[in-house]
Subunit: 199 residues, 2 copies
């Protein structure tokens, strides 16, 4: 195994352990000793990969986001009409994140509470990647990038960070509300024949 792959696999093993601990105990109670024990790796090694518990938490979020961005690139390149790819990208950027955190969804509030300032600083870069991907699916016009930003910020409303765990509700009701928003975004609230999308 090449050195980079080994590094990646150790890093992933630590983050996998973190995700399991967040599912079991939550982020606040979790200690770096717990992470080391759960991962079967010495604490000293863990500190080679992560600067702090906060860094571990942020990196767990970062890994979710990176995986979802990969998936969005696949969806954006699929052999489907452009409006359908756009719809699926907007849907998956939310539901893909939620699917990946579902085992520890009950711990997300305290995770975000603990890492909010650093999280806010990092997320801009992620959003820029998503914005460019979305802009590429919009009708070609000078405002495409700005419209893409609007679509991004609008659907952000359904990300775990924006809603509390309780507000997120069941995956089904969230998906229905998200779909309703996406249709509004694509066709406009004033469209005369806006499809009723009741769940």
């Amino acid at each position: 195994m090449a050195a980079t792959a080994l590094r990646e696999s150790t890093r992933d093993a630590i983050l996998d352990a973190t995700d399991r601990l967040m599912a079991r105990f939550g982020f606040r109670k979790m200690t770096m000793d717990d992470v080391a024990k759960e991962a079967g790796i010495s604490k000293r090694t863990i500190y080679l990969y992560f600067a702090s518990k906060e860094d571990v938490g942020l990196s767990s979020i970062g890994r979710v986001v990176a995986h979802v961005l990969d998936e969005l690139q696949v969806i954006a390149a699929a052999d489907l009409p452009t409006d359908e790819r756009l719809r699926r990208v907007l849907r998956h950027r939310v539901l893909g994140r939620i699917e990946r955190v579902k085992e520890y969804a009950h711990s997300l509030d305290e995770l975000f509470e603990a890492v909010r300032p650093a999280y806010m600083a990092r997320r801009r870069q992620v959003f820029e990647g998503e914005r460019d991907l979305i802009a590429g699916l919009l009708p070609d016009n000078p405002a495409a990038s700005q419209t893409a930003e609007a679509l991004l910020l609008a659907t952000n409303a359904f990300l775990p960070y924006s809603l509390t765990v309780r507000e997120l509700g069941s995956p089904e009701s969230l998906a229905a509300r998200l779909d309703s928003m996406i249709e509004t975004l694509l066709h406009g609230a004033l469209a005369p024949n806006q499809k009723a999308n009741l769940s």
Copy 2:
């Protein structure tokens, strides 16, 4: 002065003092002693109105939101075409809040950080009031309430809570981005002749 009016004016005086202190020192450093001194009211009296410093912070946010909701009701009843009232309501629900907190905008991150769980619990009720007001301006259809929720959640992206102070940017650039989102929301990202709204 009637007892209720006196209560209101004492309460307002305490919150005015809080807002000034947040402008000067931020929320974290502010103590209840500071609030008492700044308001010229005994600390004992302050505790008749507010349970804790967190309660004072939440109530300051609550007062902003209540004022804006009053203003939205006036806009929603104005003698203007419905789509223009809708546009102005969506715009003012964001810019009205920002205008009212501008003196202590630099302290909002730490205020929200301190009160996040309680704030999340309270805001649902506010949003329901705004949703119903917006639904009343939409073309009459069975999905109006759901569409109104989408408009609400989408424009929430520009509220001080969702963006850090730095991300909020200048009032002008924020207003331009908000306007772009509102046009997308009203007419749809796929509308063939979407107006370019570059700033």
